[in-house]
Amino acid sequence: MATQRISGSEAVIKSLLEEGVDTIFGYPGGAIMPIYDALYDYDQQVTHYLTRHEQGAIHAAEGYAKVTGKVGVCFATSGPGATNLITGLADALIDSIPLVCITGQVASALLGTDAFQESDVVGISMPVTKWNYQVTHAEEIPEAIAKAFHIALTGRPGPVLIDIAKDAQFAQIDFEYKKCTKIRSYLPEYPVDPFQVKAAADIINEAKKPIVLFGHGVVLAHAEAELKEFIEKTGIPAAWTLLGLSALPSDHPLNVGMLGMHGNYGPNIKTNEADVVIAIGMRFDDRVTGKVAAYARQAKIIHFEIDPAEINKIIHADAPVLGNAKKSLLMLIDNVNPNSHQEWLSEFRACDKIEYEKVISHDIYPKKVGLTMGEVVRIASEKTNHDAVLVTDVGQQQMIASRYFKFSQSRSNVTSGGLGTMGYGLPAAMGAKIGRPDRIVFAMVGDGGFQMTIQELGTISQYNIDIKIIVLNNNFLGMVRQWQQLFFEKRYSFTEMKNPDFVGIAKAYGLASQKVTSRDQLEVAIQEMIDHKGPYVLEVVVEQEDNVFPMIPTGASISDIILEP
């Protein structure tokens, strides 16, 4: 490729184009103005979405990355612009979301002088990025961006931040771009060791009551088909973690539901009855394990994992298999015998029956007067043939939606898992819709989380981002209130909310909106929202003191999951 003499700013845009970027979320400001000026000439190649807050930009980039499998890109200026990205970086790091964030920085001569809008972004973002780098010379730009994309997307993905001093944005360089494919200090993944796979297969072939626990790693490795083939060949029941949701169709006969604190009854208690636990691309989060000392002690543990630091971090693995889940599953499939575990599977179905009678039926087909979150989720799922993208915020609506929404294809669930970031839902849904304009995207948010990033209604309106926003309004911070009810003697300390007129707010932003307070309006309203061309805000007033069950209380064993208060 011939070299061209261009500014550092233009080099940033050209480097992004070389990486196939066509979508950027961001917010301009003083120190990133040269880059925005360069962007102005590339509106045919790149679409930039101006959010209403940098946190909105980075969550949108996360939503975009999750549904597309591509790297999410966002821009912010120095100082407060950059510090507003921190929550999103922490969220993306803990949930392994590939992002490249580019921040403007004051001119290099001003570094360390407390200049206007100067903050030590590299220092502040260090614990919440997979890698970060400060550019002070324009010549470094192409290489830094090439490295950023390689690091963000390979191995266990994560967020990367490049901080570019303003003088480097102005300086002229001879631009030449070379993709980064190898860094000597960085091994993205271990090559799969056939002996490790064989050891795992031997245990699986002998297993009487095996269970598969799969997580985000299956999606990140594009290993959905291999997972399905593996469980179908061996007949092993499979349960998903919150971030594993949608990697297998909800109605797959071997799908036994969700693990964790508010997961399903069967997979939780059966983990403590299985003789072999096969964990694939999951990291034994405390919300999944409950009390670690009482977790799967009876079982042999097989752990398929890309990140060596996750092996034995929480749960000792009897047979670890390091590497990419797709590659190791392919090898595993060849090494396992065809089998079926009908009797064992029927034990899960018996649990499902108990859970349905005690919990699910009351949630999704309630007989009481007040509306439940569960019935809203059920109807939204049914009306879209269980094939929409579900974006949730954090709290009760997240758990209820994750329990009752049904999925037909992978990358249909976007949620903040590890960090539990309230305010994530609305902006992440924008990114998800922009990434997959062909799909229906629901933003399922509570009244609390909605108001943390409600200003993004401005972005949704400006770009007519066709998302279906369902505000499940109980006028409470519902999950905290639930804990206060169960563990703090109903002392509702600062969880009640006096909310604005959400329909009025939506209308002020020029968005179609409606409020539903009774069951007879609900189905019609959801149908209207889906049929409406363009974004829509549907407020559903739900029961104030509804709780999410089942529940594993903090510190309890998964065997002690409770079905009712």
């Binding site: 260090m126 000597r184 200090s185 091994l187 993944e189 971090k313």
Partner: protein, 180 residues
């Protein structure tokens, strides 16, 4: 049981890496007893020698987290017995004690320390050794009064012939070739 470990981090020579390494310890509330940074025998490869007191389990986890850092190549954790190590200490005492009796001179001689600088006001003594040895000399000199004292971070070297990283780098290269 907590015991002393020498953690050796081999890395690229990049600005900010020291911070990235130390926050792994800070986040887990592990105190760094000593820290030394220098270039290794391989040009461009830097070596952080970090001494901590921890349980074997926590050390294993810290090593895993350190190895996740993109610019870190390899991390080793060793007990003291597995390595040869030294620290250096400097002591300043008033010159008058040297002339009052031969006690200070004897202490210096017996401990294998040496005098680096001698002025009318003070004498600077240097001693290399393990920290218990440099501490012992401190205690002995402090009977007279040590006016300044400094001990370096630990430097440590393995009992094997080559820099451990050279073998590792070859294996790593092979692995990088193996994955697409």
């Amino acid at each position: 049981m907590k015991q002393e470990y020498i953690i050796t981090v081999f890395s690229e020579d990049h600005i900010g890496l020291l911070s990235r390494i130390t926050i792994v310890f800070t986040r887990r509330k592990i105190n760094i007893d000593s820290l030394t940074v220098s270039e290794s025998a391989i040009a461009g490869v830097f070596k952080f020698t970090i001494v901590i007191r921890e349980t074997p389990d926590r050390v294993e986890k810290v090593v895993g987290q350190l190895e996740k850092i993109v610019d870190v190549m390899k991390v080793f954790a060793n007990t003291n017995e597995e390595m040869i190590y030294q620290e250096i200490a400097l002591y300043k005492v008033s010159t008058e004690f040297l002339f009052e009796s031969d006690k200070v001179e004897k202490i210096v001689r017996n401990s294998g320390a040496r005098i680096l600088e001698l002025t009318r006001e003070y004498v600077v003594i240097e001693k290399t050794g393990h920290s218990d040895e440099t501490q012992q000399l401190f205690d002995e000199l402090n009977v007279f009064g040590v006016t300044q004292f400094i001990r370096s971070g630990r430097v440590a070297i393995t009992r094997s012939n080559l820099e451990r990283l050279s073998v590792f780098l070859k294996e790593r290269d092979a692995m990088l070739e193996q994955i697409d």
